[in-house]
C-alpha cells in the first residue's frame, strides 16, 4: 500500500501556500450551519459515500498569546495533550485510538490552537469522547512531560541547522523584533526548560473556552447526530475562557508590519545551497483588494509552473529547483512571501533577478492574458484541493477563522471574476514594492552584500 514513500518529484517543495483560492461549482459542496441545544455552532458537510468522519476545530488562542518567558507553551500543550487523559495513561490513550482506527492531532499556530479528528462512523462517539477527555482532563504525567520536552528541545536544535526552518525563524525574529510573532513557535531551549506541569494545566483551564471555538465537520453523519455530539464533546468547556474574562495575562498583540523591508540579512551556514526567503506586506483577507492581490500572486510566483519568477529564475537560467510565492495572513499582519534555493555562487544573481521582476511587476502589472490565465487557474484549482473529508473540513475551518461567510464556496468565483486589468495594475503599483521586500539568506552566498549578518544562536 502507499506508505512512507520516498518519491522524488518536480514539486514546489516547502511552500505552504495559504489560501490558494478559486470557486467550486455551487452544487458540489453544501455547507450547513448546525447549532447544538447547548448553543455550540458547527459548519457541516454531509458525505455518506464513505464511513469516514473528519473534524477540524480551533480555539482562538495561540503562540502569540504565550507569555514571553514561556515562549513555546502552546506548542508544548499541543504535543502533550495526547499523552493521556482521565483514567488513561499515554500508552492506553494512544492504544485505544489505534484500536478505533482513529487519529486525534493538534496543530498550534501563532493565532490559533487547532486540532483534528479522523474517525469512522461506528467509533464516532467513543473517539469524540477521547477528544473531550484530552481537552478537559489531560493528565500531563511527569514522564510524558519529560519526554515531550526532550522531543521539542531536539526539534529546536535540528531546525537551527536546517536552512528553510532557520530562514523562517530568523525572518520573523528580525522583522517582528518587539512583537510576539518574532518569537519562535517551538520556543527556545531556555524557555522550554522552564515550562512545568502547572503551566500546562493552567493553559487548558484558562485558554480553552466555547467563546473562542470554531468547529467544522465533514463526513458520514447528519445534523441531528452532530448536535448532541457537539454538546458532549465541547459542552464541558467553560462558556467563556477565564483568560477572556480577566484578559490580564496576554492581551491581544498589536497589528504590525515587517521592520526589515528592503534589507538582506545573512545567516552563515556551510551548506552547498543557500535558502533565500523574501517577504513584504500583503493585504488582509477583509481588504477590498485582497482578491486582486491573490490573482497578482499567481502571475508573479504562486501555485503553478508558469509564473514570472519560475520563468526568470528556473526555466531560462536554471538558478533554482524551487521558487515560489504565496500569501500568508495572520490576525495582526499580512504577508506576500516567497522562497528560493540556489547554489551559493548564484545567490547574488538570484536576489537581483527577484528584485528586478518585483520592480517590473509593480510598474507594469500583469498582461491581459496573464490576468485571464491566473483567474481561470484560481477558479478551477480551488476545487481540486477538496480531495478528502479532512481537506474539506480544513477549508471550512479556514473560512471561519478568517471571517469568511458560510456560502463562501459559492461566492469565491464571483470575487475573482470581478478583478479587472485596471484593478490589477493599480494594486500592483500600490502594494508590490521592492523597497519593502526583505530577504533572509541562509548559506554561504556569493555576490550579495548583506545589510546585517545575524548570529542564529538562541
Amino acid at each position: 500500500m502507499s506508505r512512507r514513500l520516498a518519491f522524488i518529484g518536480r514539486s514546489l517543495a516547502g511552500l505552504a501556500l495559504a489560501a490558494l483560492i478559486a470557486a467550486r461549482p455551487a452544487q458540489a459542496v453544501t455547507v450547513e450551519r448546525v447549532v447544538s441545544p447547548g448553543g455550540i455552532e458547527a459548519w457541516l458537510v454531509e458525505d455518506h459515500s464513505q464511513k469516514v468522519i473528519s473534524l477540524s476545530y480551533a480555539f482562538h488562542t495561540g503562540a502569540a498569546n504565550d507569555p514571553a518567558d514561556k515562549t513555546g507553551l502552546t506548542e508544548f500543550v499541543a504535543s502533550t495533550l495526547d499523552e493521556g487523559a482521565g483514567d488513561l495513561d499515554s500508552a492506553a490513550f494512544q492504544g485505544r485510538l489505534e484500536d478505533l482506527s482513529s487519529t486525534i492531532s493538534f496543530q498550534p499556530t501563532q493565532d490559533f490552537f487547532q486540532g483534528q479528528v479522523r474517525t469512522v462512523a461506528p467509533y464516532r462517539d467513543e473517539v469524540f469522547g477521547l477528544l473531550r477527555l484530552s481537552l478537559t482532563r489531560p493528565r500531563f504525567d511527569a514522564p510524558a512531560i519529560a519526554r515531550v520536552r526532550d522531543q521539542i528541545v531536539k526539534a529546536i536544535a535540528a531546525r537551527a541547522e536546517e536552512p528553510n526552518p532557520l530562514a523562517s525563524k530568523i525572518w520573523w525574529h528580525s522583522n517582528f523584533p518587539d512583537h510576539p510573532y518574532g518569537r519562535p513557535v517551538l520556543g527556545t531551549a531556555k524557555t522550554v526548560a522552564g515550562i512545568m506541569a502547572d503551566d500546562l494545566h493552567a493553559y487548558v483551564e484558562h485558554r480553552f473556552g466555547r467563546d473562542r471555538l470554531k468547529v467544522a465537520v465533514v463526513g458520514d453523519l447528519t445534523p441531528d447526530e452532530l448536535k448532541p455530539l457537539l454538546d458532549q464533546t465541547f459542552g464541558p468547556l467553560p462558556a467563556t475562557s477565564a483568560e477572556t474574562a480577566t484578559s490580564a495575562e496576554t492581551a491581544s498583540p498589536p497589528d504590525a508590519v515587517p521592520t526589515a523591508g528592503g534589507q538582506v540579512l545573512l545567516v552563515k551556514k556551510p551548506v552547498p545551497q543557500s535558502t533565500v526567503l523574501f517577504a513584504q506586506p500583503g493585504l488582509a483577507v477583509a481588504d477590498k483588494d485582497y482578491y486582486t492581490l491573490l490573482v497578482l500572486n499567481n502571475v508573479l510566483g504562486g501555485g503553478t509552473f508558469s509564473t514570472r519568477l519560475e520563468h526568470a529564475v528556473r526555466e531560462t537560467r536554471g538558478l533554482a529547483y524551487s521558487i515560489g510565492t504565496g500569501l500568508s495572513n495572520y490576525d495582526h499582519t499580512a504577508l506576500l512571501f516567497g522562497q528560493a534555493g540556489t547554489q551559493n555562487a548564484k545567490v547574488g544573481e538570484t536576489v537581483a533577478i527577484i528584485r528586478q521582476e518585483w520592480a517590473r511587476f509593480a510598474a507594469e502589472g500583469p498582461t491581459e492574458q496573464e490576468l485571464k490565465d491566473a483567474k481561470t487557474y484560481l477558479e478551477g484549482a480551488y476545487a481540486l484541493g477538496l480531495d478528502s473529508t479532512l481537506s474539506i473540513a480544513e477549508r471550512l475551518l479556514f473560512f471561519q477563522t478568517h471571517g469568511l461567510p458560510i456560502d463562501y464556496f459559492d461566492r469565491r468565483k464571483g470575487l475573482i471574476e470581478k478583478v479587472t486589468l485596471a484593478d490589477a495594475k493599480r494594486v500592483a503599483k500600490a502594494v508590490i514594492d521592492p523597497a519593502k521586500l526583505g530577504f533572509v539568506v541562509v548559506g554561504d552566498p556569493q555576490g550579495v552584500t548583506p545589510d546585517q549578518i545575524v548570529d542564529p544562536t538562541d
Partner: protein, 468 residues
C-alpha cells in the same frame, strides 16, 4: 507526542461493520476499479468516483533509475524534467501553461522502478490532459537549449534534497552499502558527479527505448465513467505505436558476507540517529512467501504507540524520543527491512542501539503474540478505508502496484492476504530475514564545527553563461 495523521489501527469488528471486504470467492475491487488494455498494449485502469467533479490522470512508465545505463545515473529523473520541455506539437513550457490555464494541477515523480506523471483537473477537462499526456508519450522534443538550464535545475534539486541534508546523504551511503551489485545502490537523483554530465544523446536514447504505450499504465480516477474513459483512451492513446521494449534485466544481488557500518559525522547534525537495515524479500523477488508476514512484523515492531520498539525504548525505558521499524514490499527486486532509534538527550547512542537490538533479538527468539498480530493486521487493512476517502490516493496506490510487478488481483487480495497471516508466519519471516543475516548499521552523529569528514565538494559548474 504529536503525530500527523499516519497509519490507522482498527479491530476486526470494524471491518465487518464497515462491510469493506467481501469474503466470498475472489476479492472485490479495492477501489471499485476496472481494467482493460488497448490494442497497442497500454494498460488502463479506471476508478469512477463521483463525489466531486474532479478527475486525476496518472501515467506510470515501467522504467526508473534502476534501469539506467551504468555511468549515467540520473538519466531517468532528468528525463522526467525534460518531459515538460516541449513536443512536436507543443512549445517548451506550453504543457504546464495549458494545464494551469485550465485550473489544473500537475507534477511528476521518479523512483527506482517507475516514473509517473499526473494531472488533476475538473472532469470536463479530462480529454484535454489526456491529449497532452498522450502527445508526450511519443512526440517529445529535446534540445540543448532546454536541456542545459534544466541540468542546473536538477543539480539545485540535488543540493536541496541531498547536499543540504546530512541524513539524506547518509541514506545514500546506506543504500550503496546494502546493495553490493544491484542498481538500487544508486540514488534515484543520480550521483551528482554524473548528473553534471548528462547529455542529450543519453536522454533521447532512454526515452526512445522505454517510453511506449506497451510499457505504461494509465490510471484515471474520479468523476468519469468506464465507458467514457475507454473511448477517450482509445481516441488519444490508441494511435500511438507500440515499441519493442527491452526486458528489465537487472544485475543479480550476490550473497552478503559481511556486516557494514556506515557513519556520518557533521557539524550540521545536532541529534544522533542509529539505524540498521537488512536485505529482505519483496512481493516479487527473494523469498516472496514472507512479504505479507514482514508487513505485519514491521507493524508489530515499530508501527505505532504500542509497537514493541516504541513502547520499550520511548515509554518504558525512557531512553529514546523515537523508535520504529519499516518495510516496503513494493519493489521489482529485493527490498529492505529496517529499524531505528533516536536517543533521548543524555542517552549515549550505543546504549540506545543496544536496547533496540535487544528488543528485536527478543522478538526473533521468543516470537510475537496473537493479540499483537491481530491488531497489526487490522491497522494495516484499515489504511484502505482512508485511502478511499481521497479522490487521488487510489490512483497512486494502483499505479505503484502495477508499475512494480503486482496485478490488480494482487492489490484486491491484499486485505485478505494480510488478514490470513498467522503468528507462525510472522515468526518464520522474522527468522528468515533477521536471524544471523548480515546488515548495514548506520550512525548519524554530530561533530564540532571544523571536525568530522570533509564536506562533499560541489559538482563542477559545466554550464556556460546562458545566452538570452
Amino acid at each position: 507526542m504529536r503525530r500527523t495523521a499516519g497509519s490507522i489501527l482498527a479491530t476486526a469488528v470494524a471491518v465487518a461493520l464497515l462491510g469493506m471486504f467481501p469474503r466470498a470467492g475472489q476479492a472485490a475491487p479495492l477501489f471499485g476499479e476496472s481494467e482493460f488494455a488497448l490494442p497497442n498494449g497500454l494498460e488502463v485502469v479506471v476508478v469512477p468516483n463521483h463525489r466531486a467533479p474532479n478527475v486525476t490522470q496518472m501515467v506510470w512508465y515501467k522504467v526508473g533509475s534502476a534501469d539506467e545505463e551504468r555511468g549515467w545515473s540520473g538519466v531517468a529523473h532528468f528525463l522526467e524534467h525534460l518531459m515538460f520541455k516541449g513536443t512536436k506539437n507543443l512549445k517548451p513550457k506550453e504543457f504546464s501553461e495549458i494545464v494551469a490555464r485550465n485550473g489544473g494541477q500537475e507534477n511528476a515523480f521518479t523512483s527506482w522502478d517507475y516514473t509517473a506523471y499526473y494531472q488533476t483537473v475538473a472532469s470536463d477537462r479530462l480529454p484535454l490532459v489526456m491529449k497532452l499526456e498522450a502527445d508526450r508519450m511519443h512526440d517529445l522534443v529535446i534540445t540543448n537549449e532546454q536541456l542545459l538550464p534544466e541540468r542546473q535545475v536538477i543539480l539545485e534539486e540535488w543540493r536541496m534534497r541531498i547536499g543540504n541534508v546530512p541524513s539524506a546523504t547518509l541514506d545514500q551511503q546506506i543504500e550503496a552499502a546494502l546493495y553490493l551489485n544491484h542498481p538500487y545502490r544508486i540514488p534515484v537523483l543520480g550521483w551528482s558527479e554524473e548528473m553534471a554530465k548528462l547529455d542529450l544523446a543519453h536522454e533521447r536514447r532512454f526515452y526512445d527505448t522505454w517510453y511506449a504505450p506497451n510499457n505504461a499504465v494509465l490510471v484515471i480516477a474520479g468523476d468519469v465513467t468506464v465507458e467514457a474513459a475507454k473511448k477517450l483512451a482509445q481516441q488519444y492513446y490508441g494511435p500511438i505505436p507500440r515499441k519493442a521494449v527491452p526486458a528489465r534485466l537487472r544485475p543479480v544481488e550476490p550473497q552478503r558476507e559481511a556486516n557494514t557500518t556506515v557513519e556520518l559525522k557533521s557539524a550540521r547534525v545536532r541529534n544522533p540517529v542509529w539505524s540498521r537495515v537488512y536485505l529482505a524479500p519483496s512481493y516479487h523477488s527473494g523469498e516472496t512467501q514472507y512479504a505479507y508476514a514482514l508487513e505485519v512484523l514491521a507493524e508489530v515492531l515499530g508501527g505505532g504507540a504500542n509497537s514493541r520498539l516504541h513502547k520499550a525504548l520511548v515509554i518504558d525505558q525512557q531512553i529514546a524520543t523515537g523508535a520504529g521499524a519499516s518495510y516496503d514490499p513494493q519493489r521489482l527486486d529485493l527490498g529492505k527491512f529496517s529499524y531505528y532509534v533516536s536517543p533521548r538527550v543524555g542517552t549515549p547512542i550505543d546504549a540506545a542501539a543496544e536496547a533496540a537490538e535487544a528488543v528485536v533479538a527478543k522478538t526473533v527468539a521468543e516470537g510475537v503474540t496473537a493479540d499483537e498480530v491481530e491488531r497489526a493486521k487490522t491497522r494495516l487493512k484499515n489504511e484502505v478505508l482512508y485511502a478511499n476517502d481521497s479522490l487521488s490516493q487510489p490512483a497512486n496506490v494502483i499505479g505503484r502496484a502495477l508499475a512494480t510487478g503486482s496485478s490488480l488481483a494482487d492489490l484486491d487480495a491484499w486485505p485478505d492476504r494480510i488478514g490470513a497471516v498467522t503468528v507462525d508466519e510472522v515468526n518464520a519471516a522474522a527468522h528468515a530475514v533477521l536471524e544471523g543475516k548480515t546488515s548495514v548499521t548506520a550512525r548519524l552523529l554530530p561533530a564540532k564545527p571544523g571536525a568530522g569528514g570533509p564536506e562533499k565538494p560541489l559538482p563542477p559548474q559545466s554550464l556556460p553563461e546562458q545566452i538570452r
